[in-house]
Symmetry: C2
Subunit: 293 residues, 2 copies
């Protein structure tokens, strides 16, 4: 569809995703004006000095006149932030977010919004292990998937407009239910992060002299986990607290599978190990074929 | 030290590491002649057609006249291979390997060697998820660590010569005991691989329609695990079977830590999660500072 730019886009939280969105929106000609709301003075100053946005500050009144509002704050903060913005949101404004959990965001945000606001939760499956306004780049969303989970009451025209905006930034958009999103992401994202945090934590607790060697010999596989385990702590705390059931279910399955492999190692059952390690190669081939490697 | 080239280097097993060694040895001028022994006819043909080696085949007599022999086969095969080579090994020849486990290799190889062979176990901490002769490249060992675990009976001159050869290929060499090696690698390499294989296996067992979505949304963290879990199945089967105690001990520690995090998620203890996720960032900074990222 042909896409007229938004008049005023408010980005709430100008970290890695927020700053990337500012750059990508600008690059795609999707916004006449971009403003940022952030309660961290350093972020505000950095966003302004980097020229990411036209205005920035910690006053919710920045939402005044916005026709697109994007919440880029930890999942646990979305409800409170939406409540502060509510008095400034005009009917017809599109309000979306980029959180890694969707049911909890719907639960917290929907009840505090004034009537007429088009609330369309979203989640771009992209990111890096870096944080802050200087970590952003316009290409972050290119070729990556973005999931939208509009409720039944959302205006289809608003959903189509938001979808077109994501597509103009290079994303592949899929629409699904918030419940389904949370289940799929529990295995593709939340569980991998939980495991990575755990294994890096286990290494952190080793005797002092071993720690230096863990760093020295990390190329053996460990370093890939440390990259994931360097992600933003507050963001991930909120993900786990807000997608508890799905994460614990997937963790339960992992537990069982780990028990089977541990037993195979203990009793010297090489056939089981070899078979298991062979089947896992297939998924890698699928990811390479899908150009998501 | 100044390094005179080896007359004839025999590489046993011309896969990723073997082919990279052939290219790196050649590039550094470390070998007058390089020959490969491999029981897979396709590997032999490929090694010859790629010009990796001067001769190749499946006849142990290729070891005749070699002054350096490098075993690049799965850990579980080292003992059998060494026994086949034994009749052709002259006193003074340096025999080393590249296996990810060291105590088991010493246990299996040392008893079958004729007197006078300088057996110096080794382990370059480098690799990719690709396999076979065409996967090799001369720069694989550059800037990476290589561990040597000579026994007390090894001739210091032979150890120094092998160390110098690795350094000429760009490696950073450390000498330690086989027992210590196996403990350090259990946490930096073996446990991460076990976990990656498990989590990818768990995803493989999901309902059919979820599997496609796991691939589609793998950028959320999962894809990093699939890369590790695409490593050679036989090699890794042998690693786990041959470093059982250390791997199961580290797995036990991981289990405890995972239990603590799962409990924090279940009871909604955000403070514990945040604290844990913050400390794990420090190790990543250490790896970046050590130029192993």
């Amino acid at each position: 569809m042909s896409l007229s730019p938004f008049n005023r886009v408010l980005i709430v939280g100008i970290g890695l995703i927020g700053s990337s969105l500012a750059l990508a929106l600008r690059k795609a000609g999707l916004a006449r004006q971009i403003v940022a709301l952030d309660h961290t003075p350093d972020h505000v100053a950095e966003a302004l000095s980097l020229g990411l946005v036209d205005a920035a500050g910690d006053d919710p009144a920045l939402a005044d006149g916005a026709d697109l509002v994007i919440l880029c704050v930890p999942v646990g903060a979305c409800g409170k932030v939406a409540a502060k913005l509510a008095p400034y949101l005009a009917p017809g404004v599109i309000l979306t977010d980029v959180g890694s959990v969707k049911q909890a965001v719907v639960r917290d945000v929907a009840p505090v919004l004034p009537e007429g606001v088009q609330f369309i939760p979203g989640h771009p499956i992209s990111g890096t292990e870096y944080s802050g306004p200087s970590a952003g780049f316009a290409e972050l969303f290119e070729g990556r998937h973005c999931i939208l989970t509009p409720t039944e009451t959302a205006d289809p025209a608003a959903v189509a407009r938001l979808q077109a905006a994501w597509e103009a930034m290079g994303s592949l958009v899929t629409i699904m239910s918030a419940e389904h999103h949370d289940r799929v992401l529990a295995i593709t994202s939340h569980l991998p992060h939980l495991i990575a945090y755990t294994i890096v934590g286990t290494a952190t607790d080793l005797e002092e002299h071993m720690q230096q060697e863990v760093i020295k010999y990390s190329a053996g596989g460990f370093r890939d986990f440390t990259r994931i385990a360097a992600s933003d702590p507050i963001m991930w705390r909120d993900v786990f607290l807000n997608n508890r059931e799905a994460v614990l279910e997937m963790l339960g399955r992992l537990h069982e599978d780990l028990g089977l492999l541990a037993r195979a190692i203990r009793i010297g059952d090489g056939a089981t190990l070899e078979e298991k390690f062979t089947t896992t190669r297939a998924i890698r081939r699928g990811i390479i074929a899908a150009k998501q490697a």
